[in-house]
């Protein structure tokens, strides 16, 4: 199982949207079984995939990241995973692919605080403790999933650091603007070496792209500096509608969901499959 962290210092650059798009397109168009770990207390990915109602149900059933962390990983992680976490009919109908999620809820903030406090008191790094907690559980799922996408919170919280440490590769979504580009540079220059992740394959996805005289040179700069997955995802209000799920019993087709962005989302997943998944599959020792 390949593990990819979707991470960046800056918020609002499309980490959750990229996670959802990649998961659904890789599942449907490349027959992948995908597990998403939503480590972000904002829980955007969980709301996008399960709806608010679905997240509330997962919370009440005790099946969230909060419960996994509070139980200190004593039970198997699959006890907390919500299977069939998509509203795309074709994925739900096909047994050869899947999009499942360990959902987050905002209470993760407080649980993270508690874990951090306990770890620091005992002289440990909370991120390393989280890695230690997750590692055997992810190993136990390696024969169930082709791919694990970890949606990390913005910044450098313990959960973000753990997500990056757990990953075999990192994807950083970014917007082609000066602030996001500088933040990305800081993440790559300072963050990845600090997490001993600077040797891991790192890719960039350009999101919310609006072709203009000011954005095109920045996109060119990003392309010449980083391994950019193509195509850029255009800015579109349709993406907001695509990634919103009103109810957990509402379903649609992939085409209806992504509409005018469908071809771009499929092409982006194809590029990720070629550049990240395929090379990983040909290196058996890294599995």
């Amino acid at each position: 199982m390949l593990t990819i962290a979707i991470a960046n210092l800056k918020g609002g650059v499309g980490k959750s949207t990229t996670t959802v798009c990649l998961a659904e397109a890789l599942a449907l168009h490349h027959r992948k079984r995908v597990l998403i770990l939503d480590l972000d207390p904002q829980a955007n990915t969980s709301f996008m995939l399960l709806s608010r109602q679905g997240v509330d149900q997962a919370d009440f059933a005790g099946r969230t990241l909060t419960n996994f962390l509070l139980d200190q990983g004593r039970n198997t992680i699959s006890d907390y995973v919500r299977a069939g976490a998509t509203d795309v009919n074709e994925i739900l109908a096909n047994k050869n692919c899947a999009v499942d999620i360990l959902p987050s809820i905002p209470r993760v903030w407080f649980v993270e605080e508690t874990l951090q406090e306990a770890a620091y008191k005992s002289g440990n790094d909370p991120a390393k403790q989280l890695v230690k907690m997750f590692t055997p559980h992810l190993a136990a799922l390696r024969e169930h999933y082709h791919l694990c996408l970890i949606d990390c919170p913005p910044g450098f919280s313990s959960l973000t650091r753990a997500g990056v440490m757990l990953a075999n590769a990192i994807i950083s979504p970014t917007i082609a603007d000066p602030v996001s580009t500088r933040s990305l540079a800081d993440f790559v220059r300072l963050g990845l070496p600090m997490l001993e992740a600077d040797t891991k394959p790192h890719y960039v996805v350009i999101t919310k792209y609006q072709p203009r005289n000011t954005t095109e040179p920045i996109r060119d700069l990003l392309r010449s500096t980083y391994n950019v997955l193509e195509p850029s995802i255009r800015y579109s209000t349709h993406m907001l509608e695509a990634t919103e799920r009103i109810r957990n019993d509402s379903f649609r087709t992939f085409r209806n969901k992504y509409s005018s962005l469908e071809a771009d989302v499929i092409a982006l997943a194809g590029d990720a499959e070629r550049k990240i998944l395929r090379p990983f599959q040909s290196v058996p020792t890294k599995r």
């Binding site: 079984r33 149900q57 009440f60 059933a61 005790g62 139980d71 039970n75 198997t76 699959s78 006890d79 995973v81 299977a83 069939g84 047994k95 899947a98 499942d100 136990a140 799922l141 024969e143 169930h144 999933y145 082709h146 019993d249 599995r287």
Partner: protein, 180 residues
Amino acid sequence: MAEVDLYPLVRNYLNLEFAPSLKPQRGVSLPLVAITSNAAGADAGKWSRPDLALVNLWRHKYQPSFTLDLYGFEVKPTETCDLSSVHETLAHTRLVHFSYLVWQLGEDETESRRLQLIRDNCEAYEIGLITFAKVDGLHRFKVHLNCNRRNPSPSVIDEFIETRFGSREKDRLLAWLERQ
């Protein structure tokens, strides 16, 4: 692979594929899986201990009351599955509503005579059969036969859950029953 080493694998399958398939499309469900092979019980003999159990509390959207279904799973590694495994699985039907034999298939056994024999016997006794094997690096499970629902008395079901599930699972079940 020893039988006990297969339990986590089967547990993951039950959580990630089998249990979700039980959810009504518009209703709600709470499936909980436990490894019960070493759990206590009023009668904890060899033929009265499914290796894993799944309790599923569910309700259709426009249905006023919940249904509780209890599933038992007898896990067998490649080499140890035979007719007595079928009989052992059948014996569990006095404790659970649905009883399944879960068998790890060996190489080239997807069309074997042994599979046909086991399948025919499961069919005759109206118990479930699930097999699994590694395909392209992933374990793929296949439900060959579903089990016809049995009707052990509610007190037997209660006793099973009370003595073989952990306090965490029981608390969740009770919380759901109280809230819904």
